[in-house]
């Protein structure tokens, strides 16, 4: 069963939304927090609705609507989203109010909008979409779960599905994740993130949406051939085995892969896994690491999918991406491999349609 990516839209810390060029020039950040470049929402969303929406809701809805527009689809048959943190800003607001006002009755707005399915629900409400609506909240593979759900739906007869992955950084989450040691201690340029082997990464966020369809159209960006995840592998041997068995299940050999897109985030320990795989199962395959563009966050693979689909469609790896290895004339097959803090691992195999 083929999954066709009819269109894709991404709001990210780079100029990816409504941008005429595909990652022509990268935006540099000096610090450990990469915030999204937000569009003028008044063009996309009814200003009356915008007022109550938090940043992640606005970003997601703008991204979702642009994606649908790109696919010339008014109303998808289903909506599936993936988010590890959900609506953090509203969650933080309600928690803070609860502490500060000592459980006195509060405004319900933040509570109502804090639920993880708010974004999927708001899109459905806006479009009057009665179709299947689901939200995965599964850490570093929330988005992959959404893709797996969507692939099953397509083969069950649902013709098209809006699939999204989104997570935000808020002042509170940034303060907390800094304290946990996730980020670099000092300032760093995202453009030199991979240079020395240091501890810590940079934080990111984003909202990327895809219209997936069950039939081919000439405008398709790429096809998704397979998605797989695995949980807490014991060691690098087990990871290598998982990658090999994923590829052999699809009858794909290393030579068939034209590019691997890897989840290095600049943290020495985190990136060891990728370095090891580059020497073994990915040996000889040209590769790109993408988190210098979008930062580290649980659904960063939604950004990676947006980028990879555009690479396949344009048959071009933007010079700004600094790929390793010699790329073939025609990029037909791309494999995305990512792990989030070595808990959840995922593989997404794409091909040209």
């Amino acid at each position: 069963m083929q999954v066709y990516i009819r269109s894709a839209a991404s709001i990210s810390p780079q100029n990816t939304f409504n941008s005429p060029s595909f990652l022509g020039e990268l935006v540099e950040y000096n610090g450990t927090r990469l915030n999204c470049i937000e569009p003028d929402y008044n063009e996309a969303i009814d200003p009356k609705l915008i007022r109550r929406m938090s940043r992640i809701i606005k970003m997601s809805i703008a991204s979702a609507l642009a994606c649908l527009k790109g696919a010339l689809v008014d109303n998808p048959a289903a909506i599936v989203t993936g988010t590890a943190y959900g609506c953090l800003e509203d969650t933080g607001t309600f928690l803070t109010n609860m502490v500060e006002f000592d459980e006195e009755p509060l405004s319900p707005v933040a509570f109502v909008q804090s639920t993880h399915n708010t974004i999927g629900a708001q899109i459905a409400l806006l479009l009057k979409c009665n179709g299947y609506n689901n939200t995965f909240v599964n850490g570093g593979i929330s988005f992959e779960n959404a893709l797996i759900d969507a692939a099953m739906l397509l083969s069950e007869g649902t013709p098209n599905i809006l699939v999204g992955g989104m997570d935000e950084i808020t002042d509170m989450s940034y303060a907390i994740l800094t304290r946990t040691g996730l980020y670099r201690r000092g300032p760093v340029s995202n453009l030199t993130l991979f240079e020395p082997g240091l501890k810590g990464t940079i934080g990111g966020e984003g909202a990327s949406f895809f219209l997936l369809a069950d039939s081919h159209s000439k405008d398709d960006l790429a096809c998704i051939d397979a998605v797989s995840t695995f949980h807490k592998p014991g060691n690098i041997v087990e990871i290598t085995e998982q990658v090999r068995s994923f590829l052999s299940a699809k009858a794909v050999s290393s030579e068939d892969i034209d590019l691997v897109v890897l989840g290095d985030n600049g943290d020495l320990k985190n990136d060891k896994v990728y370095a090891e795989l580059r020497k073994t199962v990915f040996n000889g395959i040209p590769s790109i690491s993408y988190k210098n563009l979008c930062g580290e966050y649980p659904v960063s693979t939604a950004f990676a999918l947006w980028m990879s689909a555009n690479i396949i469609k344009s048959n071009n790896i933007p010079a700004s991406l600094n790929h390793r290895g010699n790329v073939k004339e025609k990029i037909r097959r791309v494999l995305i491999y990512n792990h989030y803090q070595n808990i959840h691992h995922s593989l997404i195999l794409l091909s040209s349609c």
Partner: protein
């Protein structure tokens, strides 16, 4: 593709008992779990009742095998998930592709709340280990690891319909031959976050709730976890015990009406119930019992009631809201009610809707008020509707 999916095991912990036998006996004896709040530290204690699991965190730690410092939600999940796994007698079949699909709306919020007390005053304060389970996925991950489930681990959150969608997703993973056995359901501990959240919406009943009563005042929150072990036909035939039932139909339909309210005609509930019926190939007259969503709020019960009327008129099956026992356990409710549905089919039993005094005047049917036996009970419809218009219905059928 249209392979059958069977319920081979059931596990539960809730305000009316910490395992299947205790819960069954409470249902049979009409013993509610709704009471004064005793375990959650909140200013609303004594004012807002709830159906708490009657165990402290220390006692839950002993029962679950997790350290006492773990989120209550992880411990609740573990107790019910382990019971469902063991109850099936599946043991360790070599080469079995297993999955854990768990739903939760609050993750480890019980501990995040404690962190925030210090953090709000000073962002450099608060014990970080209280945030380990904040992400919903980390609750699932901790339990999956302890159960030794590796092939597929995922977490779903669609408000009050969450675990119905987890069961649907689990069943589909089996139908698509991606997995052989999936432990599916949900968990939610009572937290100050949800208690205060629902309180700001003014939909909490200050007395024990009265679902589907003309004078209903709102819902009581509850806590707990409920899981079913779903298996393929191949696995079902290899097990020593007969399965409880099959999952013959399901549907996820969005009301697309309002972020928190249900449409007055019950379009979402109607869409979910009729979609599930269509999939199962059953007629409305084939449904013997409906486990209603029945929260006890004005809005839910009139919307759900309108949808039941539209779909079943003029012959109504028996029905009841077991939230009069368990309270509304949010992300766990459809998991808990899936266990009730499987037990209803196995035992040929129908549960009462407690405290129903004055039936709703707008509806031509009255939910059951006493526990009864129904030996020929074949098909159970279970409803779950949530914020965001997320409506899901499941149908369980006798084999």
């Amino acid at each position: 593709m249209e392979a059958a999916v069977f319920v081979a095991g059931a596990g539960i912990i809730s305000g009316i008992g910490n395992n299947v036998p205790d819960v069954l006996s409470a249902l049979e004896n009409s013993t509610t779990g709704v009471d004064t709040i005793n375990y959650l530290r909140t200013n609303h204690r004594g004012h807002l009742p709830a159906s708490e699991v009657k165990l402290s965190n220390d006692e839950l730690a002993l029962l679950s095998g997790f350290p006492q410092s773990t989120s209550r939600n992880v411990m609740l999940s573990m107790v019910a998930a382990k019971e469902a796994w063991d109850n099936s007698g599946i043991g360790n079949i070599p080469g079995l592709r297993t999955g854990f699909v768990s739903a939760t709306t609050i993750g480890g919020m019980d501990q995040t709340e404690n962190f925030f007390i210090d953090f709000v005053a000073d962002h450099s304060k608060g014990r970080l280990r209280n945030l380990i389970y904040h992400e919903c996925g980390n609750v699932t991950s901790a339990v999956a690891e302890k159960l030794g489930i590796k092939n597929h681990v995922s977490t779903i959150s669609t408000a009050c319909s969450s675990s119905a969608n987890a069961i649907m997703y689990g069943a589909r993973l089996i139908k698509h031959n991606i997995l052989d056995a999936v432990l599916a359901g949900g968990t939610d501990a009572l937290t100050r976050f949800t208690l205060n959240g629902f309180n700001t919406l003014l939909i909490l009943d200050e007395q024990p709730c009265q679902p589907f009563d003309q004078n209903r005042r709102g819902l009581n929150l509850g806590e707990g976890a409920g899981y079913v072990l779903l298996v393929s036909e191949r696995v079902a035939t290899a097990l020593k015990k007969d399965p409880y039932c099959s999952i013959s139909g399901y549907c996820n339909f969005n009301d697309a009406f309002h972020q928190t309210a249900s449409s007055p005609e019950g379009d979402g509930p109607f869409g979910a119930m009729s979609g599930a019926l269509k999939m199962s190939g059953l007629q409305p007259g084939d449904i013997d019992y409906i486990n209603l969503h029945g929260t006890g709020t004005q809005n839910n019960d009139s919307s759900e009631g309108a949808a039941v009327k539209r779909l079943f008129e003029p012959h109504y099956p028996k029905m009841s809201s077991t939230k009069s026992f368990t309270g509304h356990t949010l992300g766990a409710s459809a998991g808990i009610e899936a266990v009730f549905s499987a037990l209803a089919i196995r035992g040929g039993i129908v549960y009462p809707n407690l405290r129903l005094q004055t039936p709703m005047t707008e509806l031509p049917f009255v939910p059951e008020t006493t526990f009864s036996r129904m030996p020929g009970l074949r098909n159970v419809l279970s409803n779950s509707f949530g914020f965001g218009g997320n409506c899901s219905s499941l149908i369980f059928s006798k084999l």
